[in-house]
């Protein structure tokens, strides 16, 4: 990012955006369809989060251009992900700890 694109590059990007859009729609349908099977909670959570993560990865990589972004931004985001996971895992840790006391 941060530079001028040739018309050919923009055309190529637009084709990618449309492809990503179709994939996102398909994955949304996959999520909804799988939820109708009423899988056990663990499997349902795993499938839902896996599909959501793929969708989020597509949006971040292509619409937010992270796939071609500068290293500094990636570094900031890696730190953010580490702290985000820590915030999510701390409650789980306390929960498991309480069970095993």
């Amino acid at each position: 990012m941060g530079h001028h694109y040739t018309p050919e590059e923009i055309d190529r990007q637009v084709r990618t955006y449309i492809l990503v859009f179709i994939t996102l729609l398909a994955l949304t349908m996959v999520t909804v369809t799988v939820s109708r099977f009423h899988l056990p909670v663990r499997e349902a959570v795993a499938v839902a989060l896996l599909v959501a993560s793929i969708k989020a990865g597509l949006v971040a990589s292509y619409f937010m251009h992270l796939i071609s972004e500068r290293k500094l931004i990636i570094l900031v985001l890696v730190h953010t992900v580490v702290f985000f996971l820590a915030v999510l895992l701390l409650p789980l840790w306390t929960h498991w700890d309480a069970i095993h006391v």
Binding site: M1, G2, F84
Partner: protein, 196 residues
């Protein structure tokens, strides 16, 4: 006084100020929603019983809203691509559609909320509803915030295109990053609240 590095890249970071600024802001937003997701997790694993989202919430409406928001993300990035190609008219078209999608999303959310309130399903009714209204309410506020910025860039802010097109394109790109983030949050909210 002119603000430096609105277009040119800083020699130390290789990025313009707007770009690094919006990404740092989005990093803080990840932590804000992260704290709320953690609260959801804590309450869900600590609850004796937890309702399936589809037993209380309207999944078809939320699915339509997901499609609306994903579509708006595509039109947003197409608006930016249009400026890269120098086509202001197409930018106006795609940005206009993005704003309309935002209205569509909020209208559907309004229908969902009012149906809940009609059935006396308020945040005080249960832990599930409390976290549902908190998460979707905060997300809705972000949609409104994004729409205000997008409407400014579509309307009065577009004057900048005539005097400094590169600066204007950067602004649209940064507004787009925020809008995609709003889409990204919904991608996780939808299955977590409605389908599990």
């Amino acid at each position: 006084m002119e603000i430096p590095y609105t277009v040119a890249e800083r020699p130390d970071t290789g990025l313009n100020n707007g770009k690094i600024g919006i990404w740092l802001f989005l990093a803080s937003e990840v932590m804000l929603f992260g704290a709320l997701f953690a609260s959801y997790l804590m309450m869900r694993i600590g609850a004796a019983v937890w309702p399936r989202g589809d037993s209380i919430l309207n999944v078809p409406l939320a699915t339509v809203n997901t499609v609306v928001l994903i579509s708006s993300s595509v039109t947003m990035v197409m608006a930016w691509a249009s400026l890269q190609r120098g086509s202001f008219a197409r930018f106006r078209l795609f940005m206009g559609i993005t704003i309309l999608c935002g209205f569509g999303f909020l209208t559907i959310k309004y229908i969902e909320y009012s149906t809940k309130f009609h059935h006396h399903l308020f945040p005080s009714k249960s832990t599930f509803l409390a976290i549902y209204f908190t998460l979707t309410g905060l997300h809705g506020l972000h949609v409104i915030g994004g729409m205000v910025v997008n409407a400014y860039l579509w309307g009065p802010g577009a004057k900048l295109w005539k005097t400094d097109p590169e600066h204007f394109t950067n602004r649209v790109e940064n507004a787009g990053l925020f809008w995609h983030f709003v889409d990204l949050v919904w991608i996780f909210l939808f299955p977590i609240l409605y389908l599990l």
